[in-house]
């Protein structure tokens, strides 16, 4: 238990710093690289939550594909690779205010609702087979819908980005 808590603390600290860097850093490519750190940290937290398959999917899809897409987007829109001062809106006060109010409300509600509720000491592992069974039985209809969403996204992205 101690080892889990210590590793949670370390990973959470890294994720928090990296997340703040993603939204404050003045360089698009660096923001994408800090995002990799947040996403990999999230995958590690999923392992702590006994969700191996989701963790592996997270690494494959997010770190492997989505960050590469972001880097391509940066390249194709010719954002400057170096520092850039035009990345933020002139007034940050609204953003800071909304984020702080939201953080305060969420923290209050969560602490009020779950005080010190503990998670199971040795949780039952959810195997990949269980997830597969569930996807192809209980959640088959959302799975079909999701297939259509992905198909539509594929066709839509090609239609939008194609040069006529």
């Amino acid at each position: 238990m101690v080892a889990q808590n210590v590793s949670f603390g370390i990973i959470a600290a890294i994720m928090a710093v990296a997340a703040v860097r993603v939204v404050t850093v003045r360089n698009v490519v660096h923001a994408a690289l800090w995002l990799v750190l947040v996403l990999a940290g999230a995958a590690a937290q999923y392992i702590l939550l006994a969700a191996e398959f989701v963790a592996v999917t997270q690494v494959l899809v997010y770190v492997g594909a989505i960050v590469v897409l972001f880097l391509f987007g940066t390249m194709l829109t010719r954002s400057r690779l170096g520092k850039e001062d035009q990345l933020d809106n002139p007034s940050r006060v609204v953003g800071i205010l909304v984020a702080l109010i939201l953080a305060g409300t969420l923290t209050y509600v969560l602490v009020d609702a779950f005080h010190a509720e503990k998670l199971a000491e040795d949780p039952k592992l959810v195997s990949t087979a269980d997830i597969g069974d569930s996807i192809f039985s209980t959640y088959l209809l959302p799975f079909w819908a999701l297939s259509f969403v992905l198909l539509a996204a594929l066709v839509g992205a090609i239609v939008l980005a194609r040069r006529d």
């Binding site: 889990q4 994720m15 928090a16 997340a19 993603v22 939204v23 698009v28 923001a31 995002l35 996403l39 999230a42 937290q45 702590l48 939550l49 006994a50 969700a51 398959f53 989701v54 999917t57 997270q58 899809v61 997010y62 989505i66 897409l69 972001f70 940066t74 194709l76 829109t77 954002s79 035009q86 990345l87 933020d88 809106n89 953003g95 909304v98 984020a99 939201l102 953080a103 969420l106 923290t107 969560l110 779950f114 509720e117 503990k118 998670l119 199971a120 949780p123 959810v126 997830i131 569930s134 209980t138 959640y139 799975f143 999701l146 969403v149 539509a152 594929l154 839509g156 992205a157 939008l160």
Partner: protein
């Protein structure tokens, strides 16, 4: 482990993402902030799945969120590319031509 440590980490990521969406001007960076928000949601889904005796539903929903996020980034970046091609800039506050 407490459930709250995961939920509070998720809440922090969510607020950071909201701050990024509100403050960033560059459309690619706004999409990155949306990824932060989606990840915080996944963290919550998996924490509650573990709380409810390793419920499989939470894992399935987390996987669906990952898939939807991938589709969203694909279409989002195609839109950003289109905007860049037409206007030579992806600063979101300059996109006010739909304002009456």
């Amino acid at each position: 482990m407490l459930i709250n440590q995961f939920l509070l980490l998720g809440a922090f990521l969510f607020c950071t993402g909201v701050y990024g969406v509100l403050v960033r001007r560059n459309a690619v960076l706004v999409l990155m902030s949306i990824e932060l928000i989606l990840n915080s949601v996944n963290l919550n889904l998996l924490a509650f799945a573990m709380r409810n005796g390793s419920d499989v539903s939470g894992h399935v929903f987390a996987l669906y969120v990952v898939a939807v996020a991938a589709a969203e980034v694909g279409v989002g970046l195609a839109l950003v590319l289109l905007i860049y091609r037409n206007r030579r800039s992806i600063a979101l506050d300059e996109l006010s031509s739909m304002k009456g």
